[in-house]
Subunit: 210 residues, 2 copies
DNA sequence: CGTGAATTTTACCGGGCGGTCAAATCGATG
DNA sequence: CATCGATTTGACCGCCCGGTAAAATTCACG
């Protein structure tokens, strides 16, 4: 699987620099909108030199995607079957929101990829991601059955967590246009605690069950 | 304001065809990723012919954005100060979700634009959109003050509605990878009613007010 | 059905794109 | 400090892109 283990010090450094620059540019422009010239420029290298480290634009994008996958799935992976349900889920929400604050570029890169049909990420989505989501959804369903959280649709709960947290990274420009210079994250954290607190509260079952 | 009123029948038809094709392509690939050749191909016209109707790629994209803005803001605009608060807000959620179902391309076009820094839409965001959001946020705040809905942060409530509903259009590929062929919208509608029902319920104030 | 305007097509251009290649330079090792 | 592989560069290629020019075609209307 690991095709090119970085050997020399120079290789390790330049690969890292390139990956960072590419993350920047891919996140801001999408795959087709990004250019190798610009990535090279941001990385402070010549384009042929960049292509010395990554065979092609495609290979570079794939390398980023692979690198990111672990980081991206970690919060959901950390959902602990042994933990207290509400604490676990609220912790997941908090970690995902921190992800949007501290790794906005990664979030936008994923958003770009998926928006444009996930031509490169689809295998990962259908493989690793689906397996992980199904596993955790089952866990959440169990918690709901046991009455430890309100009865919820586990998949849509997870989607909601993704949507609400990633929104703060992906649509930052829009929030900024509306809210001005204010840092939205403190308020966002309180708000999300409020929202999912209300949704998960086992004492308050679905409002209007007709 | 309206610079080029379509006069002949041919103009009206072709402009419409082009705008539809361009919506398709811009939504799927973003501005820089879209090409005039592809748009022309989808529209069933030659590229110079397309450029006969729209001076440039830029102008075409702007025309789409203008066309879309009304459609896009309509649901929020429809929030009625005279209506019953919860009905109004739940109606807004429902209309936004219908938007994601019936106008997914439009949603993805906006998402692309904003993700990539809204280089063309920023004026609208900071002008029309901000004004509208501020107005409706004030309305929601009033409702909350009057105790007719739970005390909420109006801006973050609106962002949440956007995030949750648009997610179903913008990240469709991801949902599809996880959920398979199932149409997510019926479940989504029930789920969102559940979520916002719980959040707005004035009987259940913020869980842990420290 | 002739005519002038509206529309469409063919041919093209300059620039930027992803990528290649061979030569130049660097750097670790003896 | 010589050597040889690792790294970097400059020059270049073929293609695609946004856009233009002008000729060819079609259309509305008298």
């Amino acid at each position: 699987m690991n095709d090119t283990p970085p050997q020399t010090r120079i290789q390790a450094r330049n690969r890292a620099v390139i990956l960072d620059a590419a993350l920047e540019v891919f996140a801001a422009r999408g795959f087709r909108g990004a250019t190798l010239d610009r990535i090279a420029q941001v990385a402070g290298l010549s384009k042929p030199n960049l292509l010395y480290y990554f065979r092609s634009k495609e290979a570079l994008h794939l390398a980023i995607l692979e690198n990111l996958m672990e980081l991206w799935l970690a919060p959901l992976r950390a959902l602990d079957p042994e933990g207290e349900p509400r604490t676990q889920i609220m912790g997941y929400v908090r970690r995902k929101l921190e992800m949007s604050r501290d790794h906005a570029r990664e979030s936008r890169l994923f958003a770009n990829e998926i928006l444009q049909g996930a031509p490169r990420a689809r295998p990962v989505l259908e493989g690793t991601l689906k397996a992980l989501v199904d596993e955790k959804a089952e866990l959440i369903a169990k918690w709901a059955d046991e009455g430890r959280i309100a009865p919820v649709d586990p998949h849509h709960l997870i989607f909601s967590i993704w949507a609400l947290t990633q929104h703060y990274a992906d649509f930052e420009v829009q929030l900024h246009a509306i809210m001005g210079e204010t840092d939205p994250f403190p308020a966002a954290e309180a708000w999300l605690e409020r929202v999912f607190g209300a949704v998960l509260d086992p004492a308050a079952p679905p409002a209007d069950r007709t």
